[in-house]
Symmetry: C2
Subunit: 465 residues, 2 copies
Amino acid sequence: MQVRQVVSSYSVVQSHNSKEAGIWVTYKDGIYDITDFMIGHPGGDKILLAAGSSVEPFWDLYAIHRSPEVYEILESLRIGNLHPEDKVARPAVNPNDPYKHDPARHPALKVNSAKPFNAEAPGSLLADNFITPNDLFFVRNHLPVPKVDPKKFRLQVGGKQFALEDLKQKFKQHSVIATVQCAGNRRSELSKLKAVNGLSWSHAAISNAEWTGVLLSDLLTSAGINGEDYKHCILQGLDTDGEGNPYEASIPMETASDPKKEAIVAFEMNGQELPLDHGFPLRVIVPGTVGARQVKWVKMISASQEESYSHWQRKDYMLFSPSTGHDTADYDKAVAIQEYPTQSAICEPRNGATIEGSEVTLRGYAWSGGGRGIMRVEVTPDGGKTWYEADMHGDEQQKRHQQWAWVLWEVAVPVPDGASDMSIACRAIDSSHNSQPEKLESVWNIRGLINNAWHHINLKVDNED
Amino acid sequence: MQVRQVVSSYSVVQSHNSKEAGIWVTYKDGIYDITDFMIGHPGGDKILLAAGSSVEPFWDLYAIHRSPEVYEILESLRIGNLHPEDKVARPAVNPNDPYKHDPARHPALKVNSAKPFNAEAPGSLLADNFITPNDLFFVRNHLPVPKVDPKKFRLQVGGKQFALEDLKQKFKQHSVIATVQCAGNRRSELSKLKAVNGLSWSHAAISNAEWTGVLLSDLLTSAGINGEDYKHCILQGLDTDGEGNPYEASIPMETASDPKKEAIVAFEMNGQELPLDHGFPLRVIVPGTVGARQVKWVKMISASQEESYSHWQRKDYMLFSPSTGHDTADYDKAVAIQEYPTQSAICEPRNGATIEGSEVTLRGYAWSGGGRGIMRVEVTPDGGKTWYEADMHGDEQQKRHQQWAWVLWEVAVPVPDGASDMSIACRAIDSSHNSQPEKLESVWNIRGLINNAWHHINLKVDNED
């Protein structure tokens, strides 16, 4: 194997991140020019996510790379080594920074806001895995990540306190595969129509994981709380704002106390200890419900006749009519969002991609809240005149009324002869036959919440032989 | 009081049913000319429903008429008497007619098919009553009304038999206010787009009643059937086709055996014995579920691992994509409709009505299946650019996840200056934020089922002072 013993700096590698400049990546101390290899890459142009940086975080996600054959191909592309003393400097930690306990994150995440950290996976990766890898699971933090000593940590439920070990050993453990979606998923499409308040999420503020913990209903019972006696279950996190006010939300007590709703206090995510960004040591998972109620770093659970009085419950996650403005929105009369409606999106190809050939294979996700499964996913290349039905796969074990996980779907659509571009939309129909509204105008609202209009992508067609 | 002692025949009265011919009605043996009275009638032109016939069936519905003042007004309009011997001839009963046990029906019902009897109320009456009067409740019969001797009747549940008195006395009675909707409600709008199979229902194949009976889950338990052991609950009626095959359907056992789903075997409708057309002596009510599974005249309830093999379960009530034709529809792969999606319609004014004044008050209903309540109803006079939010009223006692009843709504919309006509649409948003698709094209399907596109009416505006 021939390796040119060029020694280069990380900044030089970083500048090679486009077809024009050549595409370089690193693996350990090796530098590799993959410009010509890209065409044959089985994962397509997803390899570009590592352009100008290390492939290692991606190989952690796609373990198929960990084989002698792949290492051999990689070595054949080696053009040099990183300078031994070249390490990427990590910025010094400011001891007064409230975000100083935030963890390192995967470089593939598309950051919407650094502090608090909010990021989604590149949309094109999302439909690769039925279970989203922890590193790619979207992060929606409202406040800094709190630092927790798991040995001293106690969960307060009503008048009782539970140590982590108590929870894990004294209660029956329960696992549930559930999709979590940010209420702002797909907000960026709405802001193109007319400005809205909120982070500019694309369509990947949604992910799916297997969560393991204890049933919230068991905890409530153990604390002597009878669900019939209360209307709301208050959930408070350890994360606080500058003035010490914690994140808080509430869910209907009927949901919290019904074991069939499978709300859990989770300590594991996909078989691993809950990551810092996802609520270590404990987060509440309320399947089928909007992400904002699934409180991370939960420290206190209580029963109440009133909804949480937090900003996030009373003045934020509420859906108004397209004709309601900031001046006319009445948060006191509106209802806090809980269950999520039918949703779907196209993940591959990416919006704006160039395709060739006589058909294009589309892949994406579809999901509905409230335990409703997906009955059908359809794709139209002509604005709704013709629909192509997609093949779906998901978790076949989930029961009717408890279908908490998304389905991934795939369908091939013919490319019309001579077309130079295509506009494609998808929609899903859930098990109660609720579909998605056609137009963004129909769902636009001042907060840009719950955009579930048909999801569109535009493609260019390369007609050259 | 002056009464012209003209004696007239019923057929003469029948011919006076339009403004041109004059509008006559009868009450007992009196004949009344109400042509001039109509303008002042507080119920508006609904009085036209009785044109050329008796007002009595309508006064039964609207008891407000039973007052001395109203009788006095009526007598002032008397123009004569019915000929004493003039009785409307009832057609002779053919002893071989399988429909010979069908009951007499209210004359206001709009008949879609006489045998089997299928009829809806005039759409403009529907939003008058939160509880639909039994006489106006839509009727969807698949087969002739069976004749039942209530003393001999036995309900078979698994291996057990229950007499009617047993059911009423040995089980806890349960009442539930639930809306029932035919899967074909609003089909007529779809057939205008492209022909579909099925009865041509307008928007009144939906009604709301209080049902009283016993919980299906209690009955199953009493018969030793454990819901966890089976997938489906089979429901068979006493009504049969010419070859003796009974009407049959099934619902998921999870729905049947969960007391929170409130499926009941009902013997009362709005406090009265179940009417013949609504399943006397027993019908199954499965709140939030499509009408076809709520088997009337139920005689047999059983547990199964398979769905019912009836035509209606396997080859009929299934929803296909707009791009699926009769040649490509695969009933073996499709899923039988159970839960209903978000729905709404405008009941008043009637489509095509002429309005005057600077605003028009619209009234209608909204409902969603699966126990989801209605969050918001909106009306647009400009194709979705501007939305007016309606006031709603319903059953405030219903709990989240158990909101089985519709809401009635009302909203005033300004009439644009100088407009000669208006096209108005409504849509509802349910408690999981599922809305309604905009276009009929989006929901069209070969069977014309579950049309829940925005509901439109066109109005003429009378601009004359």
